[in-house]
Amino acid sequence: SAQETTIKLTLGWKTQGSDAAFFYAKDNGYFKEEGLNVVIDQGEGSGATVTRIMSGAYDAGFGDVNAIIQNASTKPQDAPVMVYQIWNQPPFAIVTKKTSGINTIKDFEGRTLGGAQGTPTTRLLPVFAQKNKLEGEKIKISNMAPNLQEPMLIKGDIDAALVFNITSYFNLVLNRQDPDKDYKWFSFGDYGLDLYSNGLMVSRKLIASNPKAVAGLVRAVNKGMIAVAKDQNAGMKAALNYDNLINVDVEKRRLQYSFDKLIVSAEMKEIGVGDVKDDRMTRAIGIIVEGYQLARAPAASEIFSREFLPPRAERELKYTAN
């Protein structure tokens, strides 16, 4: 293992249950088998994963494909490439209290929505409004840090919050709320914004200099995904091993939530975990280009590379909650 390649990998955020596949792969030596020494660091946001990779500080990361699209528009040579699409459903959603009187998306007009600046949910609101024929200028946005959204929503300072469902759902849980009973969720995916979201991305430099390592990395993560889908408890053990400060109960639920809502879908069952459908990706790029008013629409092939994916048969994910 003197020839081990070191790969610096950044997560999308602080340690979360939904990252379990990476920890599991590491703990079970999947990376080693591929001749890789993967160093996993916590992240500062799934968008920032892209910057971290572009700046050269990291070789790979778990981050948002939409941030790649944004950057690929202006800096096609520097933007990272998605090599393994993990979440094939968008987590972008608007959450509101059932008591707020908002029953349809039309009711957002005249209300104040809390949003964290620059997050896709916030940024795509105008497209959301336009696609659903809402009067966008009637929806007011109040900017705030992500972890203030739920408290402000609970307190009633805002009428709804522009969130990632996987984050917000558990934030509400942690704020001793019942996110299913008392809250209403409007998922962007259901309203014409059928986007992809987080996955494993790598730098162009790594692809150019060491494609074998990339393939190995994807293979290892894929094995981790499939294993964790079978046994979340083992996944959580690996996560706890990485960071002993996590709240295992909540994070395990988060892991399961990610499979339920973001990973396991009709499309995944069809094409296997990690892959994307090019036409859907192209549509998604169109939405992002529109939403962010990008100068250039990158091709789907600039964003996602199928080249490193293991064969379809190896990407058969069977999710069983336990």
Partner: protein
Amino acid sequence: MTASDIRQKAWSAALIVLFFVAWELFCVMTGMSDLVLPRPSEVFVTLYQKFPLLWPHILQTLATTMIGFVLGVGLGVVLGAVIGVSKTAYDTAYPLLVGFSSIPKVAVVPIFVLWFGSGSVPAVLTALSICFFPIVVNIATGLATTEPELEDVLKALGASKLDILWNVGLPRTMPFFFASLKVAISYAFVGAVLSETVASNRGIGNVMMTASSNFNVPLVFAGLFVLAGLGVALYVIFSLIEGRVTGWATRKNDLIAT
């Protein structure tokens, strides 16, 4: 004298320009990505182009910072005077204050936001809470180290503690008060911007947050330059006041007879 003064200033200005030139060269030579450290020329261009857009945000940040700063100075002077004069206050308040200022204010901003709503109030409070400590420390130290000989002049007249504080302690402390203002004003900006990045719809902090999520690093740096510029501008104003107020303490420079 005036000629040499101008030469002096020109020399300093040249050195400052040199700093930016060095930075530019460094970026060009290392092929630094503008996502990490943009070239100053790029930043200035962005600043120039976006200035009309930035202007209301600058005003907003300047206003909240100044309010927080003024309140912070007031609080700092009062606390500093109390700590400098009373041993009990020294032993009690100092540890609490040191403890409080060892806390990153980012952790406190959400509390302010939940209590006072997002916007200007938390920004003012954050600026205040971050900037008053250097003032407390310098006022307290200045008072504690005032030469007893100077105080005796007033004590012999039967002056009250307040008289002594007012006529000896505070004037004697002025040079260090102004020194702490330089620190405080910088930190006040940091505080206000910090709060704006957490929860606000206006202000440089908000702009920088948006710019950074758009990967528009030159605009982030334009924001930083604006902050630095505002800090320097206020520093210059304080320097002018300082020159008038604390001339006695820097008299050394006058003594050269030519």
